[in-house]
Symmetry: C2
Amino acid sequence: MTTSTPKRIRFNAFTMCSPVHYSPGLWRHPRDNAVRYKDLSYWTELAKTLEAGLFDGIFFADGIGVNDVFGGDYKAAVRHAAQVPKNDPLMLIAAMAAVTENLGFCATATMSYEPPFLLARRLSTLDHLTRGRIGWNIVTGYYDSGARAMGHGGIASRDQRYEAAEDYMELVYKLWEGSWEDGSVLLDQETGFYADPDKVHRIRHDGPHFRCDAIHMSEPSPQRTPVLFQAGSSDRGRDFAARHAECVFIGGPTPRTIAPIVADIRHRAVLAGRDQADILFFMGLTVIVGHTAEEARAKFDEYAAYVNYEGALALFSGWTGIDFSGHDPDAPLAASLNDASSSSMIDSFTRIDPDRVWTLREVVAHNAIGGRGPVIIGDPETVADEIEAWVRDTGIDGFNLAYAITPGGYREFIELVVPVLQRRGRFKTSYDPGTLREKLRGSGRRLLADPHPGAGFRHLPTHINKD
Amino acid sequence: MTTSTPKRIRFNAFTMCSPVHYSPGLWRHPRDNAVRYKDLSYWTELAKTLEAGLFDGIFFADGIGVNDVFGGDYKAAVRHAAQVPKNDPLMLIAAMAAVTENLGFCATATMSYEPPFLLARRLSTLDHLTRGRIGWNIVTGYYDSGARAMGHGGIASRDQRYEAAEDYMELVYKLWEGSWEDGSVLLDQETGFYADPDKVHRIRHDGPHFRCDAIHMSEPSPQRTPVLFQAGSSDRGRDFAARHAECVFIGGPTPRTIAPIVADIRHRAVLAGRDQADILFFMGLTVIVGHTAEEARAKFDEYAAYVNYEGALALFSGWTGIDFSGHDPDAPLAASLNDASSSSMIDSFTRIDPDRVWTLREVVAHNAIGGRGPVIIGDPETVADEIEAWVRDTGIDGFNLAYAITPGGYREFIELVVPVLQRRGRFKTSYDPGTLREKLRGSGRRLLADPHPGAGFRHLPTHINKD
């Protein structure tokens, strides 16, 4: 065996434009700033903190709709701000980009509701303004309440959503990759020509779900197609990720649950003609670090005292699809559920110790900080050990780091954990140059490259391109 | 007669997220920065310049689609960047808001294409982030090419668009004004309640064009409903403005064309139950100022030498709906047009001297700087005189100030014209406190007030509000 350079581990901050992302009740903590989510200064300070700490990016979760499974309405979610109110993260990015140079921005936007022609322009605009630091977390929609908000009777089936998603991707690829050729923008002082219209192609798309007959409204941005993130873990979601995703966000309680998903999606990517290394995997994680294990544990316990049980249940019911409002918090949980798929969803919340019989109250207490992902509590060396173990045991490439309190949680991670990981050669000591895609994939990887399906729309056949 | 305080005149910068807004060819001018439209630094510098100059706001024109009337395609427009490429202005605002405290931001967004539930959240988000400095320029869509871009067969009729617009406004008013009551956000440390769900109401809207069944996703922003701008000058457009607009943007070549429109919309507002002073009128204007008249004229002539004839024709064809690609540039213009409505549109471009017979080349030369609005060229006192005369003769309240070159044109206006207007008591010497609406309408006017129709949705009848 040869000694190889250890794999560098990636970190994104994982957040939401809401007073509560994953830690219901913690907004009341005196050191938590999440209620400042409406203030630009909160976001610009966070961006500067993350860039000083060499984070790869900030990942904005989002979703149209509210958690209304618990009790059959939105009341518990609203009462505890359990991901509602929730503002539009795309609106924040310019301000954070203006005070940073290297931090990436990955924003969730919902294909089921955002018209593709408009979203394509929006993301191109942001890719220009950030000089190529934009990622798009592709989601098809998730809340039934979101479908009703948009005037639909209810959410479409997963199969229907993914079928529409393929059509959507084809259209936005055509706009981003196929409309304005390289070299189409001339800026020619002599002739006065800004662009060469013979190299700007009208996209005529007539798909089963979406139609378009227009040129893309934005000239080519640094990355053209934003870095594509995706988080679906269903069978359809995995196929979609294997075809389209450059980064996959994955959640799960143990390496045993995560490793097979990583392997499976990599396998599907190979079947789809891609290299298995073409997809980077990011896992949801929360870290509570102290100078000592005791300090970290005390910090966790202090945070846990702020957890709001009903708010946590509102999130938990939304994620599992089970209305827990009528459940006895102190009865064994499995016994109160008679549906295997629900049980398996519950299992994913009981982490580490799946054989133990849990009560609802225990599950909530155990999961109210950190949501659906694991929580590492410890001194800096222990945290670094566990992070390395996760990477080793699952094959992931990095983490979407959630917070118990913000931005303090990130500051502590940067102050205490980053130097340890740097010493171990696991964390960069400076940013690589270039766009987000180049930073993630290496120099020269500014654009989607073959065999990614999006790259295939760069040189459209003449009959499509013909004006 | 008593001496009254002269009316203060309002100024917004009038721009577009494109290399060309109203001055095709000028992007090549060495002092023009319009090609930096993709750079955040251009926009943050402009915002700081405008705030230092006490401008009321920056007004972003926009439109989905491209000018493709000239020659029947987009080639001339693309060749000269005649409002294409054109990025999404909403994406810029956070960065400009972060470096200013008082400047307002009015963004155009198209009701025909932006889903109302999403646009309502987007504008609420921006109203939060700017602390109440957001205006929305309501447009129904304008380019046929935009409709085709969105997968429609072509643009709907004006009547259909305005009928849908009424439905759209009703829905967004319900979301902004009726969903989260005043006092619904508690931030109660004791109980742990972030909000009181009994004061957060589900909006059930079942209109002829739009449906929604959801709570608004954003908590109440400083202004709730953004300041409403509108620019329609058709009969339907004027009725819409009279009902909904708080500010109307108006264009026209002479006081004789503008004054009756202002009077007519004010009259319609009264018929709609509003006060005629409830609407502020802003007129499009370009100013070329020099220390002397000769310097200003020389500047104009220098700019005019950069004008691109084909690019100007592309805009001109788009505005008039007439394909000028086959017209003899040096034949008398009226003779080549046999349609009265076209002629009247042309007249609006021939400004000041409607009785003269113009050639196409002359009209273009005369209008290529400043687009559809007048151009004032002169020394500071003369410019101020003419500005005052426009206000006196038309009843308008202010101007959307276009540029020949940017941001230099704004700097010169601020340096040379603003002090003259301030001396005359016509321009503020400091910003008023509060939100954009308070700055425009006075202290205490943070929200829409009766009898604006949006205010009527603040206290919805129980049968609508009932969850």
